[in-house]
């Protein structure tokens, strides 16, 4: 494939947000993915956000059928996929209609005019084509006959018309790649491997890509090409990664670094299923994945595996955790390691399975009968899911406790560049099984605790001499025998709480560039990106603000009280109705102000910037 060097004007930009939008069948996720990959090769910083329709294949051309992928790339480090796209690629009227309201005035819109037929317009309620009624006047609209030009370009290849039409996304990708001067060799490689069994499709898609590139090069409509310099990033090898991928790889790493076989019990559920899919590919690490009959069986099997000495993990989303409560409570009584991953989605009930939310924090902290404390942590970005998974496993293994890891749809499906760690930089999280008696009289005491970690011994079946029985009834301290003694129960309840409180977690760090901020914004989990972007924007405007982000929700970092006390005002933005704020207020009696959005969408940086500006200025 040859692509001419081009002679158009080249402009430098520092950042761009592009949204590819089309029908579910138009391949927008793949297009976005490829563009991201090309962009990554260039060394830009990147953040992406896919947006899937809820239906598998909603009727073609309808609003619910629209699928989109947004990519934000820049010559500096960025924190979010961008609030509003500079460029919208709209493959049909539905895609235009569904996304238009997110565009700022002046944005570029590239539309596939071939799809703007009467019928398609009618499907989404356009009486007149918006391309013709002047309603898009404030945008820079680029009408492109994407489908027919693709078909035309492939005429000589002799591929079926349907296949030719399908390649139109590669035409679009070619055009955008040209516009933003992306290197495309990885895309060509990708096409070769994706269609390895269909050389005709390899050729067709490559040709479509080139046609798109050439179209940019030649047509008048695109007068400028843009360049975005590489971002200054820490040296090292990077890959682009989604949160779910990172989480799965983090679990593989946890297995490797704990030297324990990983057992995943899972039941498919959006948006957590991909972790199961990914882990099921890595059997050579000794990883067993079991698709159980339901969420209760999934966690049950994971707990059984933990009992047998594996790193037991279960992955699900909110409705699944709601079912697992009784078994989590058992795991707490048994004091066995267990990692429970909740990739949160919008609730209650079935809610909006493909949308994001942080509303399972309460359930993670409190969603079980009795006093049933456990550790809770949350990753702050897609790549952080990797490290959070290892941290969850570390705590579970070292302290013999279930740990809930609260990811969410936003980090799970969003992506960013990830500086690859090498395995030897990862913590050694291995622990020892107990192999000998620990009682004075040569007896084995399954609930005699390690004085440092308060963990009980992990004596797995197969260990001679340590035969013992455990269960969900209250256990006598040390011996683990069934006990109804009131003083013992009081002791055990308080001990279970104390041992979670005693888990060592890193101190909370505060980003307070100028060190004279009076307002602290405190977040947790996936809001890190937009909060960070908002703070940065405020600081650039000379408004001082401090940011702290919680990774550990239980136990909370020891210095949190101190941190909170150092500021006049604490604001807590959350994608729920104020669940962390509630905890902070109760524990520290600080009049923390909740700022909540529960729309199924992540915060935009602008929303937070406005809100924080108001707080900083008006207190």
């Amino acid at each position: 494939m040859s692509v001419s060097a081009g002679a158009k004007r080249v402009e430098q930009l520092d950042r761009v947000v592009i949204r590819f939008a089309g029908d579910s069948g138009d391949g927008m996720q793949l297009t976005g993915d490829r563009f991201t990959s090309e962009t990554a090769q260039l060394g830009n910083d990147i953040s992406t956000l896919p947006n899937f329709p809820a239906e598998i294949r909603a009727p073609a051309g309808t609003l619910p059928g629209v699928s989109s992928f947004q990519v934000h790339f820049a010559d500096y480090d960025i924190l979010t996929p961008g609030d509003s796209p500079h460029v919208l690629v709209a493959m049909n009227p539905a895609a235009l209609k569904a996304n238009l309201s997110d565009l700022p005035a002046g944005a570029d819109i590239i539309v596939n005019t071939d799809e703007f037929t009467k019928r398609n317009l009618a499907k989404v309620g356009y009486a007149v084509s918006p391309l013709e009624d002047g309603s898009l006047a404030e945008y820079a609209v680029h009408p492109v006959a994407l489908t027919s030009m693709t078909v035309g370009a492939l005429a000589e290849l002799g591929v079926a018309k349907k296949d030719a039409e399908r390649a139109k996304n590669m035409f679009a990708l070619g055009l955008l790649s040209w516009m933003y001067s992306r290197p495309f060799s990885s895309t060509l490689r990708f096409l070769e491997s994706k269609f390895a069994k269909r050389p005709d499709l390899v050729a067709a898609n490559k040709a479509a890509f080139q046609a798109g590139w050439n179209f940019g090069e030649t047509t008048e409509d695109f007068a400028v090409r843009y360049e975005i310099k590489p971002a200054r990033m820490k040296p090292g090898t990077y890959r682009n990664i989604t949160g779910n991928q990172a989480l799965a790889l983090g679990l593989v790493a946890a297995s490797v670094r704990s030297k324990l076989p990983l057992f995943l019990g899972a039941y498919p559920i959006t948006p957590a299923s991909d972790i199961l899919h990914e882990l099921s590919k890595h059997k050579k690490f000794g990883i067993t994945t079991m698709q159980a009959e339901d969420e209760i069986a999934a966690i049950g099997a994971a707990l059984g595996a933990s009992y047998g000495g594996a790193l037991g993990v279960t992955t699900t989303s909110g409705p699944g955790v709601a079912l697992k409560g009784e078994t989590i409570s058992l795991a707490i009584a048994l004091e066995l390691p267990l990692v429970i991953v909740d990739v949160q989605r919008a609730g209650p009930s079935t809610g909006m399975p493909t949308k994001t939310e942080q509303a399972d924090l309460n359930m993670a902290l409190y969603g079980r009968h009795g006093e049933a404390p456990l550790a809770v942590i949350a990753p702050k970005s897609p790549s952080d899911c990797f490290h959070a998974a290892i941290e969850a496993a570390r705590i579970a293994l070292k302290y013999r406790t279930p740990v809930i890891l609260l990811s969410d749809n936003y980090v799970a499906n969003g992506s960013e560049p990830w500086l690859l760690p090498s395995s030897d930089e990862l913590p050694d999280i291995s622990v020892e099984f107990t192999t000998g008696a620990n009682g004075d009289d040569g007896r084995f005491l399954p609930y005699l605790r390690d004085p440092e970690t308060m963990a009980r011994p992990w004596a797995i079946p197969g260990t001679p001499g340590l035969e013992h029985r455990i269960g969900g009834l209250e256990k006598a301290d040390k011996t683990g025998d069934i006990s109804y003694d009131p003083a013992n129960h009081e002791h055990m309840v308080r001990t279970r709480a104390a041992r979670i409180e005693a888990i060592e977690v890193p101190e909370l760090e505060v980003e307070d560039a100028d060190e004279h901020a009076r307002v602290l914004v405190l977040g947790w989990g996936s809001t890190y990106g937009p909060i960070g972007a908002a703070c940065r924007a405020l600081r650039q405007r000379g408004l001082p603000i401090a940011q702290a982000h919680l990774r550990h929700m239980a136990p909370l970092p020891a210095n949190l009280g101190e941190v909170l006390a150092a500021y006049d005002k604490v604001v807590i933005p959350e994608m729920n109705l104020g669940q962390l704020a509630h905890v902070i207020r109760a524990k520290y009696l600080v009049d923390a102000v909740p700022f909540n959005q529960v729309s199924g969408l992540p915060f935009t940086a602008a929303t937070l910037e406005n809100m924080l500006e108001d707080v900083v200025k008006n207190g």
């Binding site: 990077y238 890959r239 076989p261 079991m290 209760i296 049950g300 059984g304 760690p421 079946p461």
Partner: protein, 340 residues
């Protein structure tokens, strides 16, 4: 069970734990426990490689009394928990102890899934046709119309036939035995232990507090001969004090019949088609009229554990470096770029 059979000099006493047994005096659970403790040494498996997992119920206290590893888990979930244990530790001999409520009411789904998967579990269902621990409500095996604390006007739901249900769920080994017959109990435990895959054993168990005499018809010496049918592999199915009754298979019929002196069917638990065992299971309903005990079905099918283990072994054979090296390779297996 994959555990190596080593030469061990264990006795029943070695399998008694230090916990005081706390069933009601006279409860059928005692004799099942005793039979198990007597049978265990035969297994030839070191105690530390044996695990009993139970749910909740009187029966589910069983693990506390066995000097092996054990987990008294939560109501209905033992098959799921035991599945995770068995699959990840093929070296263990994993036994599930459960009740008619635990296994068939709240735990019904896990039970049927364990059976269809053919997980290498020996599942002992203590069927007393009542909820013992919660003091006397009806269970999914109680007779229609049964008057209990929760059904003062009589229950309105027909019971399961646990054997039929297990067969409908593709079980490879299905048997029934009875608390009062220690020898038979042990023979069925033995057959279950030898089976590769899920072995489902229904044990009729008397709850003398809340459902006393539920199985009297087949226990009482004055009636049992006429109602209890002992299945023996390769033997004609006859019963009665004089073996005067035969279980026959009338031509053209799919079911079985009991006849005085008819031509008795020869029992074969190993036939692949479960239709035969299913027909056997229909010989008695909740009335116990003619109740077979023994092994109904015993066929071979790869166990879930075996298949999963094989996938693991195959995958591991492709390991190409240390775990750390493979991890590094995995992390780098993507479009990567390098910043200097």
């Amino acid at each position: 069970m994959a555990s190596p059979t080593v030469e061990l000099k264990l006795t029943a006493k070695d399998f008694k734990s230090d916990q005081e047994v706390r069933w009601c005096p006279g409860c059928g659970d005692y004799s099942i426990l005793a039979a198990m403790q007597r049978f265990m040494p035969e297994l030839g498996i070191p105690r530390e490689n044996i695990v009993f997992v139970s749910g909740i119920g009187c029966s589910s206290r069983f693990p506390y009394y066995m000097n092996t590893y054990g987990m008294h888990s939560i109501h209905g979930r033992a098959p799921a928990i035991a599945t995770g244990l068995s699959v990840s530790r093929p070296d263990l001999s994993v036994w599930v102890v459960t009740g008619d409520g635990d296994a068939l009411s709240i735990g019904g789904n896990h039970l049927i899934h364990a059976l269809r998967r053919n997980v290498n579990l020996k599942i002992l269902l203590f069927n007393n046709r009542i909820y013992g621990l919660t003091k006397g409500q009806y269970s999914p095996t109680s007779e229609l119309g049964k008057i209990t604390k929760s059904t003062p006007a009589g229950s309105a739901d027909s019971p399961f036939n646990p054997i039929s249900l297990a067969l409908g769920a593709e079980a490879t080994f299905v048997a029934r035995t009875i608390d009062s017959d220690a020898k038979h109990l042990q023979s069925v435990m033995r057959a279950a232990a030898e089976h590769q895959g899920s072995a489902f054993v229904e044990i009729y168990q008397n709850c003398n507090i809340f459902n006393d005499g539920a199985f009297e018809l087949i226990k009482d010496p004055s009636s049992r001969d006429d109602h209890l049918i002992r299945l023996e592999q390769g033997q004609p199915i006859t019963f009665g004090a004089e073996k005067q009754f035969s279980v026959t298979h009338p031509a053209g019929s799919f079911g079985l019949k009991v006849e005085e002196g008819g031509e008795a069917l020869v029992h074969d638990a190993t036939v692949d088609d479960p239709a035969y065992a299913f027909a056997l299971s229909r010989l008695s309903g909740s009335d116990l009229g003619t109740t077979p005990i023994g092994v109904f079905r015993n066929v071979q099918r790869p166990s879930y554990d075996e298949l999963i283990t094989k996938q693991l072994v195959d995958a591991k054979s492709q390991a190409d470096g240390t775990a750390d090296e493979m991890l590094d390779a995995l992390l780098n297996k993507a479009d990567t770029w390098t910043i200097m």
